[in-house]
Amino acid sequence: MSDTRRQVLECMAWGGAAVLWTVAGGVPRSRLIGQAEAAPAGFSFIQISDSHIGFAKPPNTDTPATLRAAMALVAARKGQAGLLVHTGDVSHLSKPAQFDTAAELMRPAGLELHAVPGEHDVLENGGAEFFARFTKGAGRGYYSFDQGGVHFVALNNVQDLRPGGMGRLGAAQLAWLKDDLAGRGASTPIVVLAHVPLWTVYAPWGWGTDDAEAALMLLRRFGSVTMLNGHIHQVMQKVEGNLAFHTARSTAFPQPAPGTAASPGPIRDFPPGKLGEVLGIATVRELRRPGMLAVTDVALS
């Protein structure tokens, strides 16, 4: 396989010195950088996740304020970004007012918004309130679209769950995915959006998707597949052949690293002024070489 068909994923994190991560063909490299690099030409978009509007406890009693701060960061860094994606848990309790607040806060970015549901978005009425606002009429929460030469696939892995299990796509959605991908050229860059990670980050906490492998089987023939997830409120990444997995920070509150606490949290005890360092957004851009995407994570402070 040529270099141009390999997946490249970069991740920068600001927390004191910035670190640029580059993962090419499964080999990670890192280097310190002083400032954000100038955005190169090419299609780009921005990911936010887990805004949890309605959550109002330590460590964050004002989640609208941190979403507003995230959107200010989006405005400052959007450049030529083509769209904004939200990888779920827009709300905390699926209340219409929470959805409306989130929509209102995201609107000033002036970017077309695409979202997938998190488990907190589908607590009432089978997720109808969420789907009506955020999934462009896709009443089951999964859909696809094309932009900037990239085929986007938005999946719902939070509603067909089984007792004792993790996230789940379900047979109907997998059949739809098979049809959606059929006939597409293997050189088409694919971006998959789903709330729960599509690889098993930590099974005891349910941080994975039970039937993800069935989806990955359908995706492996493509030269560049980038999976963007949320749910675990921290940046994690993995590269497996041409499949790159990336989870985003929350704009609301952090959760502990897998297995490092009695439960998934949230982490509640942060020194004053430190919360912004663990919240943030991600920008994704297509590199000059075809088929390559770069993901850049940015903390709120």
Partner: protein
């Protein structure tokens, strides 16, 4: 296991409490008598939603934020397994015995 069977001369607690802490249902398996109520209270700073297993759940709570409670009266004897719809690794069981 939390046992709440009626004992002679000792009225059973009603409702039977189950605390939700650290993404676990306290007691795991709870045994009660038919007609008793169970009261779940969420102590976690994250939402949980309780639903009985199966295609036609016998009971289902709304989303429970921290300190919210949900009660259900078990009229019929049987074994009721349930889980959290947000965190399906969380599982519990209520065993309802016929009244003595």
């Amino acid at each position: 296991m939390l046992a709440a069977l009626a004992l002679p001369g000792l009225a059973p607690p009603d409702p039977v409490p189950i605390r939700i802490q650290n993404y676990m249902f306290g007691g795991g398996r709870v045994e009660i008598a038919a007609g008793q109520r169970v009261l779940w209270t969420n102590d976690d700073p994250i939402v949980h939603k309780i639903v009985a297993d199966g295609a036609a759940p016998a009971f289902q709570s709304p989303g429970l934020d921290q300190d919210d409670s949900f009660a259900f009266t078990f009229a019929q004897p049987g074994t009721y397994r349930y889980h959290c719809t947000l965190h399906p690794k969380m599982q519990g069981m209520v065993v309802v015995r016929a009244e003595p």
